[in-house]
């Protein structure tokens, strides 16, 4: 971060919090995704609503992002809705829609401790001892989020599905497959099977839509906060449960069906208690299958970025070799679906 940006950021923070003076004591880049850039900031506020020293995270779109949409702006609004509901999330601090200070819109939230990496979480002995507690906490966050129904005044930018959420996803994923050169018979088969048994859901809620191990912080085996809200959408609540339980998001702990953390029954029972919904096991299996398909399509798009020469990357290149395993999962899921 260059000196001019630091000063502009200090000025923005002073105005946003009503402080007389703000001093940026430290700024360091955090590891993160390809679509956003995260910075850890140490900030000293004199006066205003945040008087004192604070550790904050600044989140902005990565410069390489193709569509300079208001990705972070929307994410901040979703984060605010979730925070106001009482879902455990990092406290949203301020949003800057003006590209002036650092060249792009950004927002700030409170920095929290804990581990987010999936592989560390599923191997953590404290998680293995008290996984049921963690599953209960996670289920409660989802149930709380799923109380929000459209329309919502702060979420007018989220499109409402015109048809059932499952049908919308099938259309979306077929569109992605059509955008690349490769022909994928197993993914087409999964799409066709899922199309022929689409649940006609009337239960549309605010879904996180990327709720999985790796996207929340855990400390001492307990949930700190749910992160990564950029995919939130109006959807079938079971879609979130399916994404969380799908075999591909268990980080090697495949026998612990709920996110590599513990038994699916424990997670589902906790969600049922907290939400008052009854979860049909066949419906959940349907959405686990859809989750596997979604990850397969994303993996294919990522691999394509490497293959086409758009972005040479070992990680993206290796993603292509996840496909056969995901196809194995899909065929297994489809067979189990037949039995429901």
């Amino acid at each position: 971060m260059i000196e001019a940006q630091r000063r502009a950021l200090e000025a923005f923070l002073a105005e946003a919090t009503g402080a007389e003076a703000v001093e940026l004591l430290g700024a360091s880049r955090l590891g993160g995704g390809a679509i956003q850039e995260n910075w850890a900031l140490e900030v000293r506020f004199r006066g205003g609503r945040l008087e004192g020293d604070h550790r904050l995270v600044l989140r902005t779109d990565a410069p390489s992002r193709i569509a300079p949409s208001h990705g972070r702006v929307e994410e901040y609004r979703i984060l605010r809705v979730a925070h106001a509901l009482g879902v455990r999330v990092p406290e949203p601090i301020a949003l800057c829609t003006d590209p002036g200070p650092i060249g792009r819109p950004f927002y700030l939230m409170r920095q929290l401790g804990g581990e987010a990496r999936g592989i560390r979480i599923v191997r953590d002995p404290r998680v293995r001892e008290a996984g049921d507690l963690l599953l209960e906490e996670l289920a409660r966050q989802l149930a709380l989020l799923h109380t929000v129904r459209p329309p919502h005044p702060e979420l007018a930018f989220l499109p409402l599905p015109e048809e059932s959420p499952a049908r919308r996803r099938i259309c979306e994923y077929r569109g992605y497959l059509d955008s690349i050169e490769a022909a994928e018979p197993v993914l087409e088969y999964a799409l066709r099977r899922l199309e022929r048994r689409v649940p006609e859901s009337r239960d549309i809620v605010l879904a996180h839509s990327d709720f999985r191990t790796g996207n929340f912080l855990v400390e001492d085996g307990r949930l700190v906060a749910v992160l990564d809200w950029e995919f939130a959408s109006w959807s079938d609540p079971i879609e979130d449960l399916g994404w969380f339980c799908a075999r591909c998001w268990r980080f090697g702990a495949v026998e612990r069906e709920a996110g590599g953390i513990g038994p699916k029954e424990t997670f589902v029972a906790a969600y049922e208690r907290a939400s008052g919904r009854k979860i049909d096991p066949g419906r959940l299996l349907y959405w686990e299958t859809m989750a596997t398909l979604r990850w397969a399509v994303i993996a294919l798009l990522q691999a394509e970025r490497h293959r086409s020469g758009e972005e040479a990357s070992l990680e993206l290149g290796l993603t292509a070799h996840l496909l056969p395993g995901l196809e194995r999962d899909l065929l297994d899921y489809l067979e189990r679906l037949e039995g429901t």
Partner: protein
């Protein structure tokens, strides 16, 4: 030894050195990167040794769905035609069991190269 077997053996030896001698010295991001490189080398070795055989196995399995008409078709052509036919519902109903068996063969052939631990 054929040229391909020799290349595969060379990659395996390189991979073993990386894993046995370099990786224990690494931590964090560097170790993760080294593990990815080791995985690349293993996949490349399997491709050299069995890539053609596995592509032929997948081609045979997909071609069988089209009888005599499928016999001379290239793998890429078959994949394209099959993907389109599945989407259009050609395999709905009676022919689905045969389709599932062929897709199972495709997955096994590809796992043999990408991730034999899932076979």
């Amino acid at each position: 030894m054929t040229g391909r077997q020799e290349m595969a053996a060379l990659l395996r030896t390189g991979r073993e050195e990386l894993r046995a001698r370099l990786m224990p010295e690494l931590a964090g991001e560097d170790r993760y990167l080294a593990a990815m490189i080791a995985n690349c080398m293993a996949i490349a070795a399997r491709m050299l040794e069995r890539g053609e055989e596995m592509a032929a196995a997948e081609r045979r399995a997909l071609a069988a769905l089209y009888g005599a008409a499928g016999e001379d078709l290239a793998l890429e052509t078959l994949r394209r035609r099959l993907a389109r036919d599945i989407r259009e519902g050609v395999f709905d109903g009676g022919r689905e069991a045969a389709l599932r068996a062929a897709l199972g063969e495709r997955v096994r052939a590809r796992l043999a190269i990408s991730d034999p631990s899932r076979l």
